[in-house]
Symmetry: C2
Amino acid sequence: MRNLLMTVSYDGTNYFGFQTQPGGNTVQDHIEEAIHQLTGEQLKIHGSGRTDAGVHARQQPFHFHTTSQIPVERWCLALNGRLPSDIRVLTAQEVPLTFHSRRSAKRKTYRYSINGNRIIDVFQRNYQFHHPGKLNVDAMQQSLPYLIGTHDFTSFASRHSTKASHVRTIYDTRIVVDSSGNIPGTTSQGILHFYVTGNGFLQHMVRIIMGTLLEIGEGKRAPESMKTTLEAMDRKTAGPTAESKGLMLWSVEYDEITG
Amino acid sequence: MRNLLMTVSYDGTNYFGFQTQPGGNTVQDHIEEAIHQLTGEQLKIHGSGRTDAGVHARQQPFHFHTTSQIPVERWCLALNGRLPSDIRVLTAQEVPLTFHSRRSAKRKTYRYSINGNRIIDVFQRNYQFHHPGKLNVDAMQQSLPYLIGTHDFTSFASRHSTKASHVRTIYDTRIVVDSSGNIPGTTSQGILHFYVTGNGFLQHMVRIIMGTLLEIGEGKRAPESMKTTLEAMDRKTAGPTAESKGLMLWSVEYDEITG
């Protein structure tokens, strides 16, 4: 028995998220089917976490146990030949049997992208939330330090969260405004990318933080409301859940993997 | 009667090119239908040129004559509300009645994008040609100066070209290699963007130049073959026509527009 760790990139537009659902058509389903076609094994893969329907992944790890003897360097091309073109396995390595893509994860980073221009970018239409209204980025920046550290994030979790604890640690947040792609003659605020890194995230957590940040940017709430919202530990004190298509799992980091 | 000049951006994946075809489903058809819905007029728009099926446009000008009195600043949002999400009108301005988006054009720039990485980028899968094989970019660069200037481009034109003259002037060519998006742990050459600017382009011309450039990059022909191919004035001496999805009309430039 071998334990294989792989990373996958996917355009989530056409999927009901990563993890298998009763309704089918998830990224996990497609990967398991590709493995079945390749090795004949009907096995379960284990993702580093879930993603919601419509959310994308630049690089999401998953692992599984296999009896297949296919050399590790041949797995990527073999699986990609059996996957739809919006799902691609990027890397594959053999890891100790004790390694677990979710439990061993140390840091996860998500990116949420907002198109602040008057008109959407047709080439990014499934990957950016369109918000042409004026955003006060300074106010948004001022609210971010309140998120850093270890807090109970109940205010920023879906009411349907089933986790025993809502305590998570945020290590880093960052807003990057990119105006490099602006087309001459079009009015625009550019693209706003919000990056957030933590030890783990609750259901809808990044999207609710984003919804709250947007209300701060719109002047509907003060930057300090990020602090009072956290302290309230009540979902209704936060902003709305931002649309899923702007969200991308950016990276998942592990400590050095040893046997 | 007013003459309106607009620019449009489109993801060409789902269209049979810009210009109206007997089979329908072109970008022009959708824009004319949106104008019809908005003003009631059944008119013809005039593009700055054609694009092949599957080719994209970052910014393509078109113009049309209208009796509508809708203020020019309201046209973009009004048309975009009636267009599919992969077609967006970016700018609109009133121009003299003598202005013609194709005949008045001075310089056109196309970009052709190649993904040289081992595995495609799922988010760019419809906008990049995948070429994981090793490319000698230096050899490709060496061949580019032969294209500059005024030449008969018969070797680089579709055999179905109906133009009386195949003489065109190329002002500038450029290859930009972008490795910024490379994902750690994946092997890659990065993304190669080829930009070419000229006073006009024949049918398939950029794609045939690209197909020839690729053979030079693969070592199948010498950089100097760009010169001998041009001189031969024979389509069969050039490389194959590169896939349409990597091609994007980048920009069209005019002299200052005056009345």
